[in-house]
């Protein structure tokens, strides 16, 4: 908007300057044209004055005025002519004889022949006084004799420079009006043209300047009211100041997102840890009497040969229920099995073989990208269970005909695994409770797979991260190798 104002103001100032200039130019032009005309006329008038040819002199001074151009031509062409124009007051030409009497004038009625010009009024008297006072034979312009008139005085000289008379061209400054209007029209047209070109440019430049700022400020306004991870801003990228600010803002957003991510994962970890402690405590409290009850049932079954069949059935029912409880509690209570050999490539190959039936049943494609060809210093059973759980989850989440990718790497310090699938992505709500027991809403499984996986990874001091978007869901596992056992 301000750019447009600046352009308009500039155009206005420029136009004004041009107009003033045009006025001066047309004034100079008028005077210079009149002087040129006067010089030519005075030479043309010379023979007429010398031979006292009044009519010739009249025709000569009328020739630049409108009189004959149209009229004579029309007469010659036999057309209806205009009325012969007597000289108009805007442009008067008269010839004075050496005694400052009118010799001939463009308006003969106003200036009859032989009339003494000085007697026609104060301005005329002043003009005659100046003409007679002049010694110079060159043309001269008086613009202060008559208000609103320019008077050009050109002496008419014989070949030997003897004065024959004086040619006076008296032009009204009103003659400037059409010239000025013409200039005005041109200036206005030019200005409009410039504006037509500049305004869209200015608007475009202004927009280029303000749009990123407006966008940036709109984006900044969202900080605090929306969660940082939701703020997706397509910010202007450039090397100028706005680009710098945008860059900083983007960095800030990234940091906010990281912070939010960190907070969320901390909350999740703490919750998971609390849940872990709770379940472990409950599991122990359940396991102790459960062991006693199962022992009692076992003892009962071993002793007493003659048992009541009804009691047997009841005891069996109890035993099955208790075994089921034990299984569930056992699953909740993930205990580190310390006795386990180091992970070998064969273990990894076993996992591939184990998931193969599920892969085939669902018509999926398994991409197995394993770069591990030597034993890794990690307990094999835990790692096997983690990978198996994740792979089976991936298979379960995949749509028919999809693809499951298993990427495995190891270096001196870490074991890396990434399992991805292209199935339905994990919603934000589910993501928050993904690793908690019984969090899965699907009908399959007991909902403890990821909980167990998480517990196992925690016990190995590792990390698990989930990324899920519309196209892919990736579980990334990083496990530090046991010290002193790296191969």
């Amino acid at each position: 908007m301000s750019a447009v104002l600046v352009i308009l103001l500039t155009a206005l100032i420029l136009s004004s300057v041009l107009l003033v200039r045009a006025y001066q130019d047309s004034r100079d032009d008028l005077i210079s044209n009149a002087l040129d005309l006067g010089t030519v006329l005075s030479q043309t008038l010379r023979p007429a004055m010398k031979r006292d040819e009044v009519w010739m002199a009249y025709e000569t001074i009328m020739s630049p005025l409108e009189r004959d151009a149209g009229w004579q031509y029309a007469v010659e062409q036999g057309e209806q002519p205009a009325i012969p124009v007597e000289g108009k007051p805007e442009r008067e030409i008269y010839v004075l004889d050496t005694r400052s009497r009118v010799y001939v004038a463009s308006r003969p009625r106003e200036y009859p022949m032989l009339d003494e010009l000085a007697r026609r009024g104060a301005e005329h008297a002043e003009l005659v006084r100046r003409i007679e006072a002049r010694d110079d034979r060159r043309p001269v312009v008086f613009d202060d004799v008559w208000p609103g008139r320019y008077v050009m005085v050109v002496p008419i000289l014989a070949e030997d420079s003897a004065p024959l008379g004086t040619l006076v061209l008296s032009y009204s400054s009103a003659l400037l009006v059409p010239r000025f209007l013409n200039a005005l029209e041109q200036v206005i047209l030019g200005t409009l043209l410039v504006l037509v070109i500049l305004l869209p440019l200015g608007w475009y430049w202004g927009k280029r300047l303000t749009d990123p700022l407006a966008h940036l400020s709109a984006c900044m306004g969202r900080v605090g009211t929306e969660v940082p991870s939701d703020i997706q801003c397509d910010l202007y990228d450039g090397r100028d100041e706005i680009g710098q600010v945008s860059y900083r803002f983007r960095r800030m957003l990234d940091e906010l997102r990281e912070k939010e991510e960190l907070e969320r994962s901390m909350v999740a970890s703490e919750r998971l840890a609390a849940v872990g402690r709770l379940t472990a405590g409950i599991a122990h409290e359940i396991n102790n009497p459960l062991g006693g009850m199962l022992n009692a049932i076992s003892t009962y079954k071993r002793h007493g040969d003659e048992r009541d069949p009804v009691a047997d059935r009841t005891i069996s029912l109890l035993e099955r229920g208790l075994v089921q409880i034990k299984g569930t509690v056992g699953a909740l209570l993930v205990e580190a099995r310390l006795e386990s050999h180091a992970l070998t490539p064969d273990d990894l190959q076993d996992i591939r073989t184990l998931v193969q039936p599920d892969i085939q049943r669902k018509g999926l494609r398994l991409v197995w990208d394993n770069a591990i060809d030597a034993p890794v210093a990690l307990p094999s059973s835990q790692v096997r269970q983690v990978l198996l759980n994740l792979l089976l989850n991936a298979v379960q989440a995949s749509d028919e005909g999809g693809e499951v990718l298993c990427w495995l790497r190891a270096d001196n310090r870490f074991f890396h695994a990434a399992i991805s699938n292209g199935g339905k992505h994990i919603s934000r709500g589910r993501m928050a409770h993904l690793f908690e027991p019984f969090a899965t809403s699907s009908g399959e499984g007991h909902g403890l797979g990821l909980w167990v996986t998480y517990q196992l990874i925690q016990q190995l001091d590792g990390q698990i991260e989930v990324t899920s978007n519309e196209s892919v869901t990736i579980f990334e596992v990083t496990l530090p190798l046991s010290e002193g056992e790296s191969s």
């Binding site: 009044v54 009519w55 010659e76 062409q77 002519p81 009325i83 007597e86 003969p108 009625r109 009859p112």
Partner: protein, 279 residues
């Protein structure tokens, strides 16, 4: 006719000199005694060339004197002159034919003033004022008013404050119309014709006096012109009223035709001339 003419030119051409070839066209001097515009002259020239079987060249000059001189020294064969120079130099030329205007070979001189000048009623009212004559060799535009001033007992030299010659009659009318002159003497035939063609010019003037009639400006032949050509040219002019094309041209002149002059036609001008030139 045309074809014979063409053959004649072809056979003649090798034998004659360049000067003779140039002279083979008929040269006709014209003065502004009538309204002449170039389109009209071109048509008239075409008409005459067809009738004469020769090329025709019109010679126009700024004043009557130059045309008269051309007749006197034989540079033109024919000329349409004012009656005054004819009368003056009648030993060197003779009247070939005279235009018929409104049924007679006669015209008048008019004294005109500006239409806005209501006071001036007679020539005497113009004393001490500005006056425009047409040409010093014009009967109507100079001789008539001069004679009238003399007849009234005035000194023609000092009667007006200022006089000038405007050249053509049309210029006199314009000079009076725009106020360059307070009065003017003009050919009545030209004035009337102009009043029909350009009334916006003549209506800014007013006729205050009409002279008696004088012999209409005649078409003259120089002495010694080829008698056969002379006869053919006279027949061409006098035959105009007999042909459609000729009549159309005459209508543009506002003339009825060309006729034979009677011997006494220019005695009026002769009398004025003697009167004025003696004075």
């Amino acid at each position: 006719m045309k074809r014979r003419n063409f053959l004649g030119l072809v056979f003649l051409a090798p034998g004659i000199s360049g000067a003779a070839t140039a002279r083979s066209s008929v040269r006709i001097g014209l003065t502004p005694v009538f309204l002449n515009d170039q389109t009209f002259l071109n048509r008239w020239q075409g008409y005459l060339e067809e009738r004469l079987g020769r090329s025709v060249e019109f010679v126009q000059r700024g004043n009557y004197r130059e045309i008269t001189e051309l007749v006197l020294n034989g540079r033109v064969d024919f000329a349409w002159l004012c009656g005054y120079p004819y009368v003056r130099y009648r030993e060197h030329m003779d009247v070939l034919t005279v235009p018929i205007y409104q049924g007679e070979p006669l015209y008048r001189s008019y004294l005109i003033v500006g239409a806005d000048d209501a006071r001036t009623e007679t020539l005497e009212d113009l004393e001490g004022r500005l006056f425009a004559f047409s040409d010093p060799l014009s009967n109507s535009g100079w001789l008539v008013p001069q004679a009238r001033l003399l007849a009234a007992g005035h000194d023609p030299e000092g009667f007006f404050a200022r006089t000038f010659f405007a050249g053509a009659h049309r210029n006199v009318i314009e000079a009076v119309a725009v106020g360059l002159a307070n009065g003017g003497a003009v050919d009545g035939y030209v004035y009337d014709a102009l009043a029909r063609l350009h009334p916006e010019l003549t209506e800014r003037t007013r006729i205050i006096w009409r002279s008696e009639t004088y012999g209409f400006p005649p078409v003259v032949a120089r002495n010694g012109v080829d008698p056969e050509l002379r006869g053919r040219f006279r027949d061409a002019l006098q035959g105009m009223q007999g042909s459609g094309q000729g009549r159309a041209l005459l209508e543009q002149f506002y003339l009825d035709g060309f006729g034979d002059p009677d011997a006494e036609l220019y005695t009026g001008i002769e009398r004025l001339m003697r009167h004025v030139e003696r004075g």
